[in-house]
């Protein structure tokens, strides 16, 4: 246990240093502001649960528990230990010790402490509801189950992603074929968790559309935007799966930076279309031909907006810091501010087209016009791309 304690101390030190570096770059202020806002809204929710009239009280309690449960479930999926567990394999640690280290690396996060305190306060606040003991117990059980489900999902995904069939056959071979760079990128991005979550969301939306028609072309923009947002980290940090060595290899190729970027965007777009296919198929099945065309056009508009947003934000420091992992249990980790900015940029034009409520021929012409404008800006911006770090000219 002494060895494990020393290791955890080192991990804490590494976290603290990363925090100090972020603070020295002035990146913590926004995070602190976001955290303050979250605390403020949480306090308001608690106040509502404690003193508001009964229906509002129940609703507030339900919302708070749901949001906290989601946070608990996602916690193990979004925590990467400072010292990767794979690194521990070269040291004399037992399997049990490695697992304890992984659990402890989650427990010693500030996020864990914050969620724990928030959960305790919520459970105590539930004592103000009708049938207080039952309500508090129910909240505690729901939150515990969510945390357990998160851990279980993380463990299952870890087991699943380490299997040979997933490592090899989930991606097409690149040798002796055309477009090897595109195929390489497809293999890499196709193994991130983000893509699979987007696919699950798309299938769920498609199923709900099959059971009851609700997706008009305008409304379909919202799930398309959600798919784009889920796959935004790879677009913001297209070299996120390549370490320094792999970037060296790219630089050794006699290929321009923008040509590399084109291949990466092409692979990401392929995956985006693949993730949207169930949804598009469901819409095509349940809607008229004109509505299906209109929905497809809106998908293209969201895609253009997604590509352009990625291109505009990818050179920011925050975008380069997005951690992406292939074959690990964690998905990508995006800062709150970057997520907000990219969501706002991504959805601005597609939602503006929806809110304008075009009628008649404009139902097709409005998204088509917006698509042409976005595509033109994207192509112009792509032509100007150069290696972001100090490097040699093409």
């Amino acid at each position: 246990m002494a060895r494990l304690r020393a290791l955890l101390r080192l991990a804490r030190l590494s976290d603290r240093r990363a925090w100090v570096v972020k603070r020295s770059r002035g990146e913590m202020e926004v995070e602190i502001l976001a955290a303050a806002a979250a605390v403020y809204f949480f306090a308001r929710q608690l106040k509502t649960i404690a003193v508001a009239p009964q229906p509002a009280r129940l609703l507030a309690a339900q919302w708070t528990v749901t949001i906290l449960a989601a946070a608990w479930a996602l916690l193990p999926l979004t925590v990467n230990p400072s010292i990767p567990t794979r690194r521990l394999l070269i040291y004399p640690f037992t399997k049990l010790e490695r697992r304890v280290y992984w659990m402890a690396s989650i427990l010693q996060r500030r996020r864990f402490a914050a969620f724990f305190v928030a959960s305790l306060l919520t459970v105590f606040a539930c004592l103000r509801l009708p049938h207080p003991l039952l309500a508090a117990l129910r909240a505690a059980v729901e939150l515990s189950l969510a945390a357990g489900a998160g851990l279980l999902l993380a463990a299952l995904l870890s087991n699943f992603q380490n299997r040979e069939f997933f490592r090899r056959k989930a991606a097409p071979p690149a040798t002796g074929q055309r477009f090897p760079l595109w195929r390489k990128e497809l293999r890499y991005y196709g193994r991130t968790l983000d893509f699979y979550i987007a696919l699950i969301v798309s299938i769920a939306a498609a199923l709900s559309e099959c059971f009851g028609r609700w997706l008009t072309p305008g409304k379909a923009t919202v799930p398309f935007l959600l798919l784009a947002l889920l796959q935004m980290p790879a677009m913001l940090n297209p070299f996120g799966l390549d370490g320094a060595r792999q970037i060296d290899r790219y630089r050794l190729f006699p290929v321009r930076y923008r040509e590399l970027l084109e291949q990466k965007h092409l692979a990401l777009t392929t995956l985006f279309v693949a993730s949207a296919l169930p949804l598009i198929a469901a819409i095509a099945w349940k809607s008229s031909f004109a509505d299906s065309c209109s929905a497809a056009l809106r998908l293209a508009l969201v895609m253009a907006s997604w590509l352009l947003t990625g291109l505009l934000l990818m050179h920011t420091q925050a975008a380069r810091e997005i951690r992406m992992a292939m074959g690990s249990i964690s998905g990508s980790d995006m800062s709150l501010l970057l997520a907000l900015i990219s969501a706002a940029l991504l959805s601005a034009v597609p939602l503006a087209v929806v809110l304008a409520q075009p009628a008649g021929a404009w139902r097709l012409l409005a998204p088509l016009g917006a698509l042409c404008v976005l595509a033109a800006i994207y192509l112009l911006a792509l032509r100007r791309q150069q290696w972001p770090t100090p490097s040699l000219s093409d």
């Binding site: 690149a174 074929q177 630089r251 290929v255 040699l392």
Partner: protein, 270 residues
Amino acid sequence: MRYTRHAQSGHAPLCAILLVMPQPAIQLRNLTKSYAGRSVVRDLTLEISQGTIFGFLGPNGAGKSTTVRMMAGLTQPDNGDALILGRSITTEALAVKRTIGAVPDELALFEYLTIGEHLGLIQATFVIDEETFRRRAAQLLELFGLSADSEKLVRDCSYGMRKKTSLAMALLPNPQVLILDEPFEGLDPVMILTLKQAMKSAAQRGTTIFLTTHLLRSACDLLDRYAMIRDGRLVAQGRSDELSRAGVTLEEAYFKQFCAPQSEGMEWLG
């Protein structure tokens, strides 16, 4: 082969002679690089003619790998320039990269691609026609003993296999200049011999090879010229045959330059 013509000015234009001088394949001009205020390479100036096997030697941290990285276009020099076949790496990087094959210090391979797929990437980026690619790839895989493992993911390969993959990638486009950082490290003795023979025959056909190594015994009968670097500065350079004539081995010349530290006070070890 590229040549520079120097017209001799004079009073008898009819007798003017055009001197045709072969251009050096590699020219390093005052190459300088610092990291965090510490100079790693200082004013490095070298000229290496075509078809030469050049050894760049020095202790750990002397600046060898940084020099290789600057020559291969992986790191921007703070000052100075590297000219490969007369082209500047700082202003014509893309044209230079088409003419070089490089093995950087960390091999630069993709963990989730197979050995064969890595060669496929070189085919696509250097635009090698299918027939030539198939022939060369098969020969290189055979040469390095990788034929049976071409479908293996790099993440499942040993260090030696990774090194051989990176070497095969550098050789595949048949470059005019090879820049190799520690090419023999991690290879077995038979493979070192095979690689040396391949390098010699390539150099005889005009390929210029710039390599760094710590395996002086392996390199002594390979190098045409050598240079030694310490703390980023060139401290010695010469021809290998001059050393042989003086009855000095490359290893002796190296130890003369860089005295080995003593491990006194380490009696507890073992």
